[in-house]
């Protein structure tokens, strides 16, 4: 028997719990302070203002549109990134290049070999990965400014003149939200697809599926929870989007005013009651979406009841 004295585990767990609790307490205290500051009267008067009602509607509409657009991009891009392998692309290029090489030995007449060498040299997957981190890492304000400048380039101006006006209009809000929300959705979808073993698709192929059928019938149904998580994230990010919208869309009442803009505008004229009432609305909206989607996505009884 080992007579060495072993320390009690209690202080260890206590330290962990204490450090974690600080943050949890802060979250609850923050929400409580905000909720206790406002009264049903404040909420009611905020909601009866036509400007604020407009901003609620615009926020709900733009966030939902942004979520749908983000999923349309995130599902294919996430799947490509999850299944992409630089080595496979290189081998395919080399295989296609072989018959061409017989015709000429000069390197500049061997474009596929050059591409294959570039893939080996540059590892495009790493670069694309890094590129997708940019909207997540950049300060939001910078994204707004970059979008504003993009619309001033010849291409941007051509688009504004011939397709539709973007800057300082509703589409600019959706574009600003999309730039950030989509990056989060792509990350989520990529992880979701990476968790589905490629062998399931392989078996589906032997059972008679084409690649597309295997994707629609096997992969996509299994990625359902991932899709819901991506949608939740995209929706929540868009609801809170402020900096890029302020720069790229402006803060015009009854035009480009979304909920964060309202909070900003009400605060700037000293109407703290309305600002707090509107922020509480956003808290409610965010929490509702989180709860509904979480449960809808899980196999809990509540989720099953909702799915019926």
């Amino acid at each position: 028997m080992d007579n060495r004295r072993v320390l009690s585990d209690v202080p260890f767990w206590a330290c962990l719990a204490l450090l974690g609790a600080i943050y949890l307490v802060l979250i609850v205290a923050m929400l409580w302070a905000q909720a206790s500051f406002t009264t049903p009267g404040h909420l009611w008067s905020a909601l009866s203002s036509p400007e604020i009602r407009y901003s609620v509607q615009l926020s709900l509409l733009s966030c939902s549109l942004t979520t749908i657009l983000s999923l349309w991009v995130a599902v294919p891009l996430g799947y490509l990134l999850a299944r992409w392998d630089d080595g496979n692309i290189r081998r395919t290029l080399d295989k296609l290049a072989t018959p061409i090489d017989r015709l000429s030995a000069r390197w500049y007449l061997r474009p596929l070999r050059v591409c294959s060498a570039l893939v080996r040299l540059l590892n495009p997957k790493t670069w694309i990965d890094a590129l997708l981190d940019i909207p997540i890492m950049l300060p939001p304000l910078v994204i707004g400014l970059a979008l504003l400048i993009l619309m001033q380039t010849p291409l941007g101006r051509w688009f504004e003149n011939n397709v539709m006006g973007v800057t300082f209009t509703v589409p600019s809000i959706i574009l600003a939200q999309f730039m950030v929300a989509c990056a989060f959705a792509v990350r989520t979808m990529r992880v979701a697809f990476e968790q589905i073993p490629p062998r399931e698709e392989a078996v589906a192929l032997t059972l008679g599926c084409s690649r597309a059928q295997a994707f629609w019938m096997v992969v996509l149904p299994e990625a359902r929870r991932g899709i819901l998580t991506a949608a939740t994230l995209a929706w929540a990010r868009s609801l809170g989007e402020f900096g890029p919208i302020l720069v790229f869309s402006g803060a015009t009442r009854m035009r480009t005013e979304v909920l964060p803009t309202t909070v900003y505008l009400e605060l700037s004229i000293g109407n703290i009651e309305a600002a707090v009432a509107v922020s509480l609305l956003m808290v409610f909206a965010a929490v509702t979406v989180l709860i509904v989607l979480r449960h809808y996505g899980s196999d809990s009884s509540f989720g099953k009841a909702l799915a019926r």
Partner: protein
Amino acid sequence: MIALDNVSLAAGVFTLSGVSLEVPAGGYVALMGKTGSGKTTLLEAICGLRKLTSGAVRLSGEDVTQLKPAQRGLGYVPQDRALFQSMTVWEHLAFALRIRGWDKNAVATRVSELAQLLGLEPLLARKPPGLSGGEAQRVALGRALSFRPRILLLDEPLSALDQETRGDMQDLLRSLRQQAPLTTLHVTHDLDEARRVADKVLVLREGKVQELNGTL
């Protein structure tokens, strides 16, 4: 009939070259070899999931080297079973039939026939997380057999099963041939199992296939 003619392939750093092998029509051949000797890679090549660098694959006398997996008409049971996590057992058994556009009644008849053959009747509404190892294995087998392929490829189908279930599965595999004409290639690393189910035992050793005489 399954035949590999002088097949070479590369999977990452792993390569096999000049492998030849033949399973006669209606035969049951077990392929043995150490872990990492390329047994699974060979099966994937027969399925069309892995491109050959040279050589040919022939199934029932026809060269299928350039055909897609979907066109080869073979049943494949991979080592990890790879059941579709979002589908019920019924949907697994019906999957290949629906892809082929069978009508509803024909699908239902075939599924109940398979469920009876494999003892899956009480499990038809379950999804993979609710299945035991042996049950999951029978579902994977049923899915592969559903569209009545002439060729069956099994990748260590019994390795994850306990002794008793394994014995039942071996009996089942042997009985399959009496139900329908089936050419089977069964990859395993268990010599007893190989002897029990197969007519002939082949060994893949250092990239060459030899017939096993006596012991390993």
